[in-house]
């Protein structure tokens, strides 16, 4: 029983914190948003320089061989800075997908670039109609000669707008297969957008996209996809906590500063208690993030499922509570684009929906028993 980061993890966390403080304050972030494409390759290189892109990649492929707890240490400060660059998508989710598929050739071909940050990877596992169900995509792969042809439509709401390569799940021979598809593959129509939270997202139209045999990653992808989803929840939870903590801090500061009726509004008990609710939620969220990080790879399926479900359901509830109360306590100024809290609100709203909403995870938890 131990709730401390190791010295290495503390160092990692401090490094990212310092990076965010020095290079990614609110003004710097606004400048990135003001330009196309809304995120920065230069920042990405810097993040790679800090080792973040290599975090979960095995050492054999040039990575750091880190764990979800390492990711917890690194992503919490990224969440605090509302970093737009796709660390979660590429370094956490895509890395886990590739590594979990257990395909030596694919790992050798993809992971070094992923680890170095040379290429950005994003999962394209979800689909509009299938909602949060990852097991039975409508997108289909046909065998064609030695290779494959893919047809369908995917969403890539986690970092997809910044991806050089998509990891696309598709149905093949009644099983689930995973393919590495370059963003510029002929037949792949990538509609890049920004999310309402400012992050780069994409929807994909997959129209007879022809791929070589080596594009397929591993055999049946069911386990890898599930594993990546669980690790994704842990990473997203870490990011969420960072965002929540900063939102609580901004709100408490505002309550101390803003004067109405001749006194700081933080002296009104109803507002105090609302801010306390936010603080308590952020503490619960941290417990949830710890739970997910510690258990998302647990070999026991029930333990893993309950932990991931409990964590994401909690993160979702707390994200909504913290975001909504923060806006309410700020009043009008919280609604403005100029003021940081509106950006935290938007990101927290997105986090609530990514990788499964509350009802989805409540059902999964009940199913796990």
């Amino acid at each position: 029983m131990d709730f401390d980061f190791t010295e290495e993890q503390q160092l990692l966390r401090q490094t990212v914190e310092r990076f965010v403080a020095d290079r990614y304050d609110f003004d710097a972030r606004r400048k990135i948003i003001a330009q196309e494409p809304g995120w920065s390759r230069a920042i990405w290189s810097d993040l790679a320089g800090l080792g973040l892109t290599a975090l979960l990649v095995p050492e054999a492929q040039g990575g750091l061989g880190g764990t979800p707890v390492d990711a917890l240490a690194a992503l919490e400060p990224l969440g605090k800075g509302l970093v737009l660059e796709p660390v979660l998508a590429s370094a956490i989710v895509a890395a886990t997908l590739i590594e979990s598929a257990g395909d030596a050739a694919a790992s050798a071909a993809l992971l070094p670039d992923l680890a170095s940050g040379e290429r950005i990877f994003a999962p394209a596992l979800y689909e509009r109609a299938a909602r949060y169900d990852l097991s039975a995509p409508g997108t289909r792969a046909r065998r064609q000669g030695a290779g494959f042809a893919l047809d369908g439509a995917k969403t890539a709401m986690c970092g997809g707008g910044a991806a050089d390569v998509f990891l696309v799940s598709a149905r093949l021979d009644d099983g689930l297969a995973l393919f590495a598809v370059p963003a510029d593959a002929p037949g792949l129509l990538v509609q890049r957008e920004r999310g309402y939270d400012g992050t780069p997202v994409a929807t994909l139209l997959v129209d007879d996209v022809k791929l070589g045999a080596d594009a397929r990653i591993g055999a049946d992808a069911t386990a890898a996809v599930a594993r990546a989803r669980d690790v994704a929840v842990a990473g997203l939870a870490a990011e969420a906590v960072g965002a929540m903590r900063q939102t609580v801090a901004l709100t408490a500061d505002y309550l101390k500063t803003r004067q109405q009726f001749g006194r700081p509004i933080g002296s009104f008990q109803a507002l105090q208690h609302a801010c306390v609710d936010m603080f308590v939620a952020s503490e619960e969220a941290w417990s949830a993030a710890i739970l997910a990080a510690a258990r998302c790879l647990d070999p026991d399926a029930r333990t893993r499922m309950r932990a991931v479900a409990a964590a994401k359901a909690t993160i979702n509830r707390c994200a909504r509570l913290v975001g909504q109360k923060a806006i309410q306590l700020h009043g009008g100024v919280g609604m403005t684009d100029e003021y940081a809290v509106s950006h935290y609100f938007r990101r927290l709203a997105a986090i609530e929906r990514l990788f499964g909403d509350t009802d989805y995870w409540l059902k999964e938890y009940a199913r796990a028993g």
Binding site: R128, E193, R194, Q260
Partner: protein, 401 residues
């Protein structure tokens, strides 16, 4: 005790429905129903169309050119317009400055301003809030110094909705700095084309710019444009707060939002079936719709009380309607976000402007209005007296705490 509208009111409803169906431009209707941005032309066009029908000022008494409808008919009118996708009538002229002018304005002011409000010619905005005074309105600092026949106004207003389109602003200013906060305030009407008026838009998190900062630098306002007595402005402002009780709950708008949500939830799927059929989603939707059913009854109770006498001042009833109306509106928008799930992410405000694409294959065009609605509705529990302020009012006036 009878919840049914009488035959005459039902006939009236039919008349309104038929008129709106005929008179509302299709392009405007599609924008409203699609959650797209309306421009001044859309809104003004609808105001003018209503005016031609004699319905330009639904809440006004006949003496001032209104139709003299009962509160029940005003409610029916609002509901039908909302359900049909008509633009919401802007309240700043019709429901805010007009009642003040009727009650406290000079005959000249009434003649000069009321007809142009009703016709849609003059657009008004509200100059109440300032950067330092939100819930604590009486702490406002904008100063008006009398110099002969004019006031010279200096200060800053904020959260001024539609100021970019407005011809006039009604405005609270401090005319006696020495008096107690509420005693030194006057109520001025300011021509937005006056020298020294600068409007700066504020971008909100939904990407829209409907609110503004308004800077007032040595703006000269003729004394004849002061409403009522000098230093009595607080009285007039208070008269206005909570004056409006037929539409404050937004029942019609929420009804349309529920209808939209049900359509959305019939299209979007959960576990391979329409979201509407998911037991949890269905229960959450039922909760919201039930709350709205109950709100409608509460609203009708208030209206029917209003219809009996002229209990027109602010009161706890308005606070209840505001509290629950805004909470329910927000709940519905949350469910729309839930129904879309991840697919609500792609956001491009530009695709909410101009002609409606109506292309559901365009992920951002389909998603943006849903997310924008969720984001923008957060303001409803803040403005018009935050919901915390409404609870303070009820605690004082009803519970005596």
């Amino acid at each position: 005790m009878n919840l049914s509208y009488d035959d005459a009111d039902e006939a009236f409803r039919g008349e309104v429905r038929a008129f709106v169906a005929a008179a509302l431009p299709e392009a405007t209707r599609r924008k409203v129903l699609g959650g797209f941005e309306l421009d001044k032309h859309d809104m003004q066009g609808w105001q003018k169309a209503l005016h031609r029908q004699g319905w330009g000022a639904p809440s006004w008494p006949k003496a001032f050119g209104g139709p003299g409808w009962t509160p029940v008919r005003q409610f029916i009118f609002d509901e039908e317009c909302a359900m049909a996708g008509a633009p919401r009538l802007l309240p700043f002229g019709l429901k805010m400055v007009a009642p003040v002018l009727m009650a406290f304005g000079s005959p000249e002011q009434q003649q000069r301003f009321l007809p142009a409000i009703m016709s849609g010619e003059d657009w008004w905005c509200q100059g109440y809030s300032e950067p330092g005074s939100g819930s604590d309105l009486a702490s406002l600092r904008t100063r008006a110094e009398r110099r002969g026949d004019v006031y010279v106004v200096n200060g800053q207003k904020t959260w001024t909705t539609m100021a970019q389109y407005a011809d006039w602003m009604f405005c609270l200013v401090r005319t006696d700095a020495a008096a107690k906060p509420q005693a030194g305030i006057s109520f001025l009407l300011i021509d937005m084309r006056s020298k020294g008026v600068t409007v700066r838009p504020i971008r909100l998190m939904d990407g829209g710019c409907e609110v503004n900062e308004v800077f007032l630098d040595d703006v000269e306002v003729p004394v004849s444009l002061r409403v009522g007595e000098e230093n009595k402005g607080w009285t007039y402002a208070k008269y206005l707060l909570g004056h409006e009780r037929t539409n404050i709950a937004g029942v019609g708008l929420s009804r349309r939002a529920v209808a939209d949500l049900k359509e959305l939830a019939a299209r979007e799927t959960i576990d391979g079936a329409p979201a509407l059929a998911d037991p949890l989603f269905a229960a959450r939707l039922a909760e919201a719709e039930i709350a709205l059913d109950i709100l409608e009854i509460t609203n009708l109770r208030v209206i029917s009380e209003d219809a009996k006498g002229d209990r027109r001042g602010p009161g706890p009833a308005a606070s209840i309607l505001k509290l629950r109306g805004t909470e329910i509106g927000q709940a519905i928008s949350e469910l729309a976000m839930q129904a879309m799930g991840e697919n609500a992410m792609p956001f491009d405000r530009d695709r909410m402007v101009g002609e409606v694409a109506g292309n559901r294959d365009d992920a951002a065009a389909a998603a943006t209005p849903v997310a924008a609605e969720y984001l923008t509705l957060r303001k409803t529990t803040i403005y018009g007296g935050s919901n915390e302020i409404q609870k303070n009012i009820i605690a004082q006036t009803v519970l005596g705490l």
